[in-house]
Amino acid sequence: MQFLGRVGAVLLGLSLILAMCLPAGAADPITIGVLGPMSFTQGEGHWNGATMAADEINQAGGVKVGNVMRPIKLIKIDTNEFLSIPDATNAVEMAVSRYKVDFLIGGFRTEAVQVMQDIAMDAKKIFIGCGAAHPALCTRVTKDYDRYKYWFRLTPINSSYLGKVDFILLGTVGAIMKAQLGLDKIKVAVVAEKAAWADPIVRAAQKVLPGKMGMEVVGVWRPSPVAKDCTAELAAIQRSGAHIAFTTFSSSVGLTFAKQLGELKVPAAPVGINVEAQKTGFWSATGGKGEYTVTINTFARVKITDKTIPFYDKYLKTFKEAPNYTAGTYDAVYILRDSIEKAGTIDSAKLVPFVEKTDMIGTSGRVVFDKSHDVKWGPGFVTGLGTQWQGDQNLCIWPYKWHGITYEGTVPYKLPPWVVEHWKKK
C-alpha cells in the first residue's frame, strides 16, 4: 500500500509539472462561432477576418483568462442566409447546442441576424454582429436590456449613418460637378433595388434632395435586386437628363448596373451604395467597365488608424482580395480578447460590462459602443469611407477635409470622362 501511495504521489507530481510546462495550446480553447454565408464573399470575409485575428492571438500565446493562457478555436458556421433564413436558424442552434460555442460573431442579412440574435440571447452568449446594418438590431438592446445585452454591432455602421454618408457623398460629387462643369442645378436619378432596406433611403432622397440639398429628382427607378439587365433603366435615365445616378444596391444588380452604365457611357456619375463595388472581384466582373463607380465602404488602403494598412496588406496578401465590411470579425475577436483578459472570465454575463467599456483603436477606426451597443459613428470614432474605382484600384475619396479629417492615402474624386465630355458640350 505504501508503495502504491508513493507511486500515486509521484504521478500526481509529474502531472502537475507537466500541466505547468504545457503550452497555451493544451488549455481548453475558447470557442468562437463564426456565422456567415460561407459560400459567398460576405461569409468568406467573416471567416478570413476571424482566422487572421485568432492566428495572431494564438501565435502570441493565446488569451489570458485569469492565470491560464487559452487558445482561440474558431468554428465555421455556414448560415446560408442568402438562400434560406431557416438554414441560418438551424446553423446557430447547432453552434450553441452542439458545438457549445462561448461567443458568436458575424451574421449578414438583417432578417436572418434578428433570428440568430434571439437564439444567442436565449443561450446568453455574447454575439458581435459584423454584417447587418439595420438599427432595429440595436434598439432591441435599449428596449429590453436584460435580454439583449449580449448583442453588439461592430460593422458596418448602422443604416441611418450609412444614409448620412450616402448623402454626404452625393453632395460632394454634386458640388464637384457644379464647379467643374458649370451646372446650375444637379439632376439626380434615384436608382434603388426593390428591397425593404432601400425604401427609407428612397423616401429620404425624394425629400432631402429637392429640399435641403437643392437638387432635382428626375425619376426613381426600382429594379429587382437580381436584375440581369438594366439597359432599359439606363436608357430611361439618360433620357431624363440626370447628372448623377444615386444608387442603392446590395445585390447583384449593382454589378449589372455599373457594368452597363460604363458600357453605354450613360452621362450620369454613379454615386451611392453599391456593395458589389466594395469587392475586389468587381473590376474583373465588370471587365473594367465599372470604373468611376463610387460606393460607401468600410476598408480601403488608407491610414484610418495605425492598424488599417498593415491589416489591409496582410489580408490582401493572405486571401488575394481586399477585406470587405464583414471582415470586421478581425476586430471583434480582439474586442473579445481584451474584454476576457480584463474580466478574467469567459462568462458572457460577466463580460458584458467590459465589452460595453470597449475603447479600442481598431482597423476601421476608434471603436466605442453607445448605449444601444451600436458602434459610434462620427469624427473621432468610426466614420466609414467613400471609395471610387480609379483604374483597377478601389481608392478612398472620402472623408476629404470632412470635419478636418482626411485619411492619409485619400485621393480626389474623378468624374467619368464621358460625363465631363457630355455635359461640357451642353
Binding site: 433595388e193 440581369k228 439618360q238 454589378l255
Partner: protein, 289 residues
C-alpha cells in the same frame, strides 16, 4: 421612348426565343419537360468564364468548346436520368429539377456565390436613332436571329428535321412508320441542349455569371412555352417576343415599378390562357388527350 422599347424588346425577345424554342423542341418531340434546360445554359456560361478568364483561351474557341461540352453533358443527363424514366412525364419533370439543383450546387461549391463576368467580344456601343445599344447586344441579337433561322432551316430542310417534326406531330405514328423515335428523341435533346448552350455563349458577356442565374430564364421560358402553346415552336417564337416587349414596356412606362416586369409578363401569360387555354399556337389540352 418607342424606339427604346422596340430595340430593347427585340433583344430580350430573341434571347428568350432561343431558350424557349430549344425547350419546346424536346417537349414536343419526346414529351420531356426538361427543367434543367436553363441550368445547361448556365453551364455553358460558366465554361466560357473558365475558358476565357481562367485558362486564357480566345473567346470564340471557348464558346465552341463550351457548346460541345454542354451538349455532351446534356446527353449524359439524358442517358442517365431521363431515358430510364422517359415514359413517366411527371418523374422526368422531377428528375430534371433535381439535375438542375445538382448543377447549381456543383457551381456553388466550385466557384462559390461570387458574381462573375466575361468580357464582351466587341467593346463599345452604337447609337441607333438616338438609342444607345452596345455592340455585344447587337451581336447577340444578330446571332440569335441567325440561330433561329438556322434552326428553322434544319427542321424544314433536313431528314433529321423532318423526323423531329413528324415525331413531334405524332410519336406513335412516327414509330409505326419505322422511325427510331428513341434516337430521334436523343438527337432532339442534343439540338435542344445545343440551343441552350449557344444562348449561354451569346449572352454570357451581357449577364452576371452566378449559380442561380438559371432560375429567372427558366420562369420566363416556361411562361413563354405555355403562352405559345406547349411544344409549339412557332408559339415559343411569338411568345418570346410578346414577353420581351412586355418587360421593356414596364421599365419605360413605370420606372418606379421596373421590378414588376416579370410579374407583368407572367400576368400576360395568365390572361392569354384564360381566353385561350391551349396557348397561342397550341393544341387544346382536351383534344390532345
Amino acid at each position: 421612348m418607342i424606339l427604346d422599347i422596340i430595340i430593347d424588346g427585340l433583344i430580350k425577345g430573341s434571347v428568350y426565343a432561343l431558350l424557349a424554342i430549344g425547350f419546346s423542341l424536346v417537349l414536343g418531340v419526346a414529351r420531356i419537360i426538361n427543367i434543367a434546360h436553363t441550368a445547361l445554359y448556365m453551364t455553358a456560361a460558366y465554361l466560357i468564364y473558365v475558358g476565357t478568364k481562367l485558362m486564357g483561351l480566345p473567346a470564340p474557341l471557348a464558346m465552341v468548346a463550351s457548346v460541345v461540352l454542354t451538349v455532351l453533358l446534356g446527353l449524359l443527363v439524358y442517358t442517365l436520368f431521363i431515358k430510364p424514366i422517359q415514359e413517366h412525364e411527371a418523374a422526368v419533370l422531377i428528375a430534371t429539377i433535381a439535375v438542375a439543383m445538382m448543377i447549381q450546387e456543383v457551381f456553388l461549391m466550385v466557384f462559390g456565390g461570387h458574381y462573375l463576368g466575361v468580357n464582351p467580344l466587341i467593346d463599345g456601343y452604337a447609337t441607333i436613332l438616338g438609342v444607345k445599344v452596345t455592340y455585344q447586344h447587337l451581336l447577340a441579337l444578330g446571332l440569335a436571329l441567325v440561330v433561329l433561322v438556322a434552326t428553322r432551316l434544319f427542321l424544314v430542310k433536313t431528314r433529321l428535321g423532318l423526323a423531329i417534326r413528324s415525331t413531334a406531330q405524332d410519336r406513335e405514328v412516327a414509330n409505326l412508320m419505322g422511325m427510331n423515335v428513341t434516337r430521334v428523341a436523343m438527337s432532339t435533346m442534343a439540338v435542344s441542349v445545343g440551343m441552350a448552350a449557344v444562348t449561354g455563349a451569346i449572352v454570357v458577356p451581357l449577364v452576371t455569371v452566378e449559380p442561380t442565374m438559371w432560375m429567372h430564364p427558366l420562369i420566363m421560358m416556361l411562361a413563354i412555352v405555355v403562352l405559345g402553346g406547349l411544344g409549339s415552336i412557332e408559339g415559343s417564337f411569338v411568345g418570346a417576343y410578346i414577353l420581351g416587349f412586355a418587360e421593356s414596356l414596364v421599365v419605360f412606362m413605370v420606372p418606379m415599378g421596373s421590378f414588376l416586369k416579370d410579374s407583368v409578363a407572367l400576368s400576360i401569360m395568365i390572361l392569354v390562357l384564360l381566353m385561350r387555354p391551349e396557348g397561342l399556337f397550341g393544341v387544346s389540352f382536351e383534344e390532345e388527350r
